[in-house]
């Protein structure tokens, strides 16, 4: 083994010996780049900025600074949500009118028709049409319900399913549609 290692080291020493390259190569290179535009400063800044963005970095913040940063993010998210949230229809509400009837309300100014569909009407789009109650696009319907747990949704113009953000979401819809849950009485 020592002989092999010694032989390898000798070989590497020989391979490391300098090799002279034709000095005219310099002239050829310079002649060729003469026709190439000078690399742009702005181009360099672009690549520098791109590298800066790609590089990972550690940021140190004080606890107070971190709190402020987190608060800023929350505010930004809230603002973004208010921009992104659909303007209409909005604020559907299911209100328990008394022990056996529940009033469902949705604001959908642009809707031509709205139906309430759910476990209580076998998800029929025709069984429980909602009624426009004023010029502001408020739709409502009151449904008699026995005690129990019901999944429901609003069907707008026969093709748009909406859950009720004011009620717990129904996570067990077999078809993955948005829906909500209303619970009447004590189960």
């Amino acid at each position: 083994m020592p002989e092999q290692s010694d032989g390898l080291e000798r070989a590497i020493r020989i391979l490391k010996e300098p090799v002279q390259i034709d000095r005219e190569l310099d002239q050829r290179v310079m002649a060729e780049i003469e026709s190439v535009p000078v690399p742009g400063v702005w181009s360099r800044r672009f690549w520098t900025a791109l590298d800066w963005l790609r590089r990972g970095r550690t940021v140190r913040v004080s606890p107070l600074g971190g709190l402020g940063f987190a608060a800023g993010i929350v505010i930004l998210v809230l603002i973004a949500r208010s921009w992104i949230a659909p303007q209409e229809p909005s604020a559907p509400v299911a209100t328990e009118a008394d022990g056996s009837t529940v009033q469902f309300v949705i604001v959908a100014p642009a809707a031509a028709q709205v139906s309430l569909v759910g476990d209580f009407n076998d998800w029929s789009s025709a069984a429980t049409p909602m009624h426009r109650v004023d010029g502001n696009g408020v739709w409502e319907v009151t449904v008699p319900l026995d005690a129990g747990r019901y999944r429901y949704a609003f069907l707008v113009d026969g093709n748009t399913w909406l859950g009720d953000p004011s009620a717990p979401p129904a996570l067990d819809d077999e078809f993955g549609r948005p829906g909500s849950v209303v619970t009447i009485g004590e189960l």
Binding site: A11, I12, L15, P18, V19, Q20, I21, L25, D26, A31
Partner: protein, 167 residues
């Protein structure tokens, strides 16, 4: 364009001059890196003609892409990466021409060494051994043991310089 004696001027300073509109300053980088890069090219490709072609192309490509070398301190490693890629391309082209590695006696003869008979015999043995290596293995061997570059250095050229355009 002339070649300038730039002894003592850093790579970063030369690159800054080029970027400021002095393309002649690039000549300083060419003369600084010519021999070291040339040694790799000759050992890798086995003949001076191909090696000088690879070297010239690497220098010109380096100039064209100089804006992408955002960390001038790593210019040498970055340029090396360009050369490695050029050698790969030329090596593939040459493989089609069925040439053998290290057949150019002139390239061998230019090495500035004292040629004793034993040494010459050893050199031939080494050249034959190198020729039997696959290009990938030969490249890795030369980069690690002869040029003493880490594979990352040679393959990445320093991440501060962007090398996507080199082939």
């Amino acid at each position: 364009m002339g070649i300038h004696d730039v002894t003592g001027e850093s790579d970063a300073a030369l690159i800054a001059r080029v970027m400021a509109g002095e393309p002649d300053a690039y000549g300083g980088l060419v003369s600084r890196y010519r021999d070291r890069l040339g040694r790799y090219a000759v050992r890798m490709l086995g003949n001076a003609e191909d090696a000088e072609d690879a070297l010239q192309e690497a220098f010109v490509r380096g100039y064209r892409s100089l804006a992408r070398c955002t960390d001038p301190e790593k210019f040498g490693a970055w340029l090396f990466t360009i050369l490695v890629n050029r050698c790969r391309t030329i090596g593939k082209q040459r493989a089609r021409r069925q040439q053998l590695v290290i057949q150019d006696e002139a390239a061998v003869g230019r090495a500035s060494v004292n040629h004793t008979e034993d040494r010459h015999a050893l050199r031939e043995t080494i050249e034959r051994a190198m020729a039997q290596l696959s290009p990938t293995t030969r490249e890795a061997f030369l980069l690690k043991h002869v040029e003493e570059l880490s594979y990352d250095e040679a393959a990445g050229g320093g991440r501060a310089c962007r090398n996507k355009v080199m082939d």
